[in-house]
């Protein structure tokens, strides 16, 4: 069992470029920031390393950081430009019983993150969900299509500046 700081040290030693830093100032859980295009290599290492053995991905969550510039369009709806979308990975080791949280941030206009669905099978649907609701594009995902919303839905509902369509297939939405 290792603390998050120890895990960070191991990772930093292994991948000096890809591991961006650790945010230990947060009150509850430290976060390790990773480069979005290197996340897969790091995850493979985390899974296969004998001393870490992160054998399962518990949760993969996409987050709209809403840290860009906010403007209003003609109808008074928020529009966010710039800033980032983030993906949080909660990893768990069933045998060693330690956990770690990774974070990657990708630019809002071009949110490319490398898929980890080859590392943990459970990432498949979680990534599809993040794509569906936030529009995060997972590179090399085997089947990146919408999962919760209808296949022909437009827009990404969980983005902070999402605006409901008025009708869907002739049914009034609001």
């Amino acid at each position: 069992m290792k603390t998050r700081e120890e895990i960070f040290e191991i990772l930093k030693a292994q991948f000096p470029d890809a591991v961006l830093g650790i945010d230990a100032s947060l009150p509850t859980e430290p976060l390790i920031s990773i480069d979005p295009l290197k996340i897969k290599d790091i995850c493979v290492f985390l899974r296969d390393s004998e001393e870490l053995k992160f054998d399962s991905l518990m949760l993969l969550s996409g987050v709209d950081d809403a840290n860009g510039t906010k403007t209003k369009d003609e109808q008074g709806h928020d529009v966010i430009t710039g800033g980032t979308l983030s993906v949080y990975y909660h990893l768990d080791s069933v045998y060693l019983k330690h956990r770690v949280t990774l974070k990657v941030s990708a630019p809002r206009e071009n949110p490319d993150v490398e898929s980890v669905s080859y590392v943990w099978r459970s990432a498949d649907w979680h990534e599809r969900e993040a794509f569906d609701l936030l529009g995060i594009n997972f590179l090399n995902h085997p089947n990146l299509i919408r999962i919760l919303m209808p296949y022909d839905w437009e827009g990404y509902p969980l983005r902070k500046d999402y605006k409901n369509p008025e009708f869907y297939l002739g049914m009034k939405v609001n």
Binding site: L148, P157, Y162, N164, Y168, L169, M171, K172, V173, N174
Partner: protein
């Protein structure tokens, strides 16, 4: 207008009696479509199960819409599901009835404000006969809904409806 239509539109003793008999048959054997949507479906199951026993009223679940008389919309109708519900409704043979069970099916319920994927009331897609309020309605409330539906059926007639 033919003679028969005229007879029907005015009504008479024979029609009235046949009406009563047929209405009695219809209201005594409402076969529901075995179809659950969300939380309310669990209460619907509890209504059919041992403690409450929907079968006392002659309500049994049929799994195919072709053999069902009533559909209980038990839960939140999402936009993805609404088209399927409409299709199920269209597959049922007449006379068919709809009980909208729970706030979500009535009006969107707790999801009416921010539910971007929730249909705000199933009556936007199919016509509803009885609304049962509650989130979820207790089995007793569903009974009440069924009794209201029976009342409604009891007052139906083969006669042409006058405008």
């Amino acid at each position: 207008m033919g003679l028969l239509d005229k007879e029907f539109s005015e009504g008479n003793i024979v029609i009235a009696k046949v009406d009563d008999l047929f209405n009695w048959a219809r209201l005594s054997s409402v076969w529901q479509l075995g179809f659950g949507l969300a939380c309310c479906a669990i209460e619907m199951m509890a209504t059919s199960a041992a403690h409450y026993d929907f079968d006392r009223f002659g309500v049994i679940p049929r799994n195919t819409p072709r053999q069902a008389d009533a559909i209980i919309i038990s839960g939140t109708v999402t936009l993805k599901m609404a088209t399927r519900i409409k299709r199920l409704y269209e597959q049922m043979p007449d006379p068919k009835y709809i009980i909208s069970m729970g706030s979500c099916a009535n009006s969107g319920g707790p999801y009416w404000e921010h539910g971007y994927h929730v249909l705000k009331g199933v009556d936007r897609v199919i016509p509803v006969d009885v609304y049962v309020p509650g989130c979820p309605p207790r089995p007793e409330a569903l009974f009440e809904g069924l009794l209201k539906l029976q009342e409604k059926i009891r007052n139906e007639s083969m006669r042409k409806k006058t405008v």
